[in-house]
Assembly symmetry: C2
Homo-oligomer: 436 residues x 2
């Protein structure tokens, strides 16, 4: 049974603290092991990757080229899928592409009256590495959500790594690769994939995998730890943990909708968190009952029940303002607003990965088809991380072009500041222009 | 003497490889020590910070409140500075503020014909921590460059940490804090500052420093390592190393300008890199000579000479295309284009932190007064990091609001995708809306 807590309860603060700490990952605990894997790849390259794939994915690649997924395989997989699924993937592709196109930042220049030009140049990264989980949970939707922003950004080289237990690629993942026009993909998983992408691994003829500029994509604690360790060597999107939903409600909503939306988060992972905050004790009880009822019908009922019972909660609050304040503290990955005045509430929401508004917007619509990215900050990191976006695959350069008039107007002030900081060559570089 | 290399030389590739590796930081080497400092702060809070300040800054704070810089101190320092400097700081403030205002992203909503609404909400982070170096090199300009984007973003709580050897704050840094309206600042430096900002440290009455959401600012290898270690706990701007300049020239330029611009980078740090790429061997020789001549006049000549001799280089190329290709490989923090057709060359520049165009735009103008940020990616990380900007102090939330018509149109496709991934509660959450 999902926990019911009233904010008036004496144990509420203690229980709420647990919710705030839901994202704690014991990176310290796996860091040593992950460092070993990464260092082996850094030093031994392809042979280390081959050994690690053999160890973790239970098959025996003999050469690095055995790890490659061919475009022919992708195409065949795509051709083999049925029409309704093909159409659904196509619709998802188009809507995700359209949304991410709107995020694409543009180069701009600004002209000052004195002839100075200032601006910002935006360029795509040269090479992006996408990590897509395989094995237990192979999600073609994750391939779309990671590849499409890179495509929109204009990244020329996109490379995919995915774990492939027993050398049996997931056909839907291959089909999604074809749909996104992926040309380079490898059957490498976990920390090994992050190492291969961050450091590259080439043989004496220069064949193999080249290092990338950015790595994005979800994964388990080993992947998250490896991404943290290679950050700086490459850019990464974020460090993400188990999935989570927060639903905010002010009394009036259908209990079955709320129950399904909480369950849909819980079925991802035993570690997932599903939290409902409502002003209605009556609704809270109805939702708890519906959850029990629906749970019995689910194929993934064991995982789902464990998540709901151990990490789910329904919080009953005295008014919606209290609910908003608690939700901002939670800073959930997914936030559903099932409230009477969503625009007013929206203006008060400070921290959330994605916000789903109204009863016709169940969270799963955002996982697949709405358009915005489903790779979102978890564990409260929506306080400072943003959803994966086209911008994660681009970077900026400042542009400064001063006119003779501009440097003449401001050179003295610049020189004073430089000299004050003890940097006389800086001052002289400016004064040289003024005196000539 | 600065090294002169011709791209036709047999040792060119070997020497160029060294330039590409200029940014290598031995983080591994200091990581253990930095982890100890951070863990002590995590566990012991204020007492650990006090002990670390005593150890590294050579004075003896007795209480955590001794570490606080008061607004009164800032105001007095500001009032004490002379008019020309005050005006220069004011001009810098205004220009930096104006540029960063243009970077501020806006919330947007997009309405679909079926009544769906999609968008992106932009919110400032709640609390930002700025690390500003003190001691050997205390730069008020760095305070401006880190505080102003946070101000423009709308961050409510901005907290500054700066090392303060012998408990003697740099008056110009204090003055710059007053100018930026900083209300909270501490005399804490190095990895200790990063720990204090990332974890917070409060006493039993809740007094002390609270944890932040984002940490920005330059620093030495200990600061860089600490920032890397707390990444994920908080957001950080980038991991930066020693400063560097690349100048690209196609034959025609004043040798004295080039010499000063190279020297102005070299004077920062023995580890700084100053690289000129030119098509003219004649100019290369003139610049080398001017550097020797000017070096003798500089107060920081020892540091500057060491940097120029050990990490500077003039590369002579056969044509400008070759120069562009080499510069894109270098991906310099600062890039000066002293070329006949700067717009054409600009279009071919893929990777650079900030681009300075034309002979009236010496790099120092960007350090102080131009407007764009001077906190820039180093060591080739301009391939994937961007200049510090207003966006580093903001984050985004996706917005999804489906209409009844919208979910009816797309619900089936969404359900098919969810079911295909084995996520039946996801499918049911959508179907529940269709069937009612």
């Amino acid at each position: 049974m999902i926990a019911l807590l009233n904010s008036k309860d004496s144990n509420f603060n203690t229980e709420f603290e647990k919710i705030l700490k839901r994202g704690a990952m014991d990176i310290e605990n796996v860091e040593g092991r992950v460092k070993e894997l990464l260092n082996a790849i850094k030093k031994q390259g392809q042979s280390a990757i081959i050994a690690q794939v053999a160890q973790f994915d239970n098959w025996n690649p003999t050469n690095f080229s055995d790890l490659k997924i061919t475009q022919e395989q992708m195409q065949k997989a795509y051709e083999a899928i049925e029409t309704p699924l093909k159409d659904s993937l196509q619709l998802a592709f188009e809507r995700i592409y359209a949304f991410h196109s709107k995020q694409k930042p543009k180069t701009w220049l600004d002209f000052e009256e004195n002839g100075n030009i200032l601006g910002q140049k935006v360029t795509p990264m040269d090479r992006a590495g996408l990590y897509i989980p395989g094995g237990k949970a192979a999600y073609p939707s994750s391939l779309l959500m990671n590849a499409i922003p890179a495509l929109v950004a204009g990244v020329k080289e996109i490379v995919v790594c995915t774990p492939t237990p027993h050398n049996e690629p997931n056909p839907l993942l291959l089909a999604a690769m074809h749909l996104c026009g992926i040309k380079e993909a490898y059957k490498i998983g976990g920390a090994s994939a992050i190492g291969a992408l961050a450091f590259g691994a080439q043989d004496s003829q220069g064949k193999g995998i080249q290092k990338v500029d950015v790595i994005t994509g979800p994964g388990n604690i080993y992947v998250a730890t490896a991404k943290k360790l290679v950050f700086g060597e490459v850019q990464i999107d974020m460090i993400a943990g188990p999935s989570e939903i927060g639903i905010l409600n002010d009394g009036d909503a259908r209990a079955d909708y709320l129950a399904w939306d909480l369950l849909s988060q819980a079925e991802h992972d035993e570690m997932a968190s599903s939290i409902l905050i409502t002003t209605s004790e009556n609704l809270a009880k109805q939702v708890a009952q519906k959850i029990e009822e629906f749970l019995a019908t689910l194929p993934r009922k064991e995982i789902t029940a464990k998540s709901i019972n151990e990490r789910g909660a329904i919080l009953i609050v005295q008014n919606i303002q209290e609910g908003i304040a608690l939700m901002n503290q939670i800073a959930p990955e997914h936030l559903e607003l099932l409230v009477k005045n969503p625009l007013e509430i929206l203006s008060k929401i400070q921290h959330a990965g994605a916000i789903f508004i109204g009863e016709n917007t169940p969270e799963p619509i955002g996982d697949y088809i709405a358009g915005p990215n489903h790779t979102l900050p978890t564990g409260g990191s929506a306080r400072f991380f943003s959803p994966l976006s086209t911008e994660h695959f681009m970077k900026k350069s400042s542009i400064i072009a001063f006119s003779k008039k501009g440097i003449t107007q401001m050179g003295q002030e610049c020189g004073i500041l430089a000299h004050t900081e003890g940097l006389d060559a800086h001052q002289n570089a400016v004064l040289a222009r003024l005196n000539s």
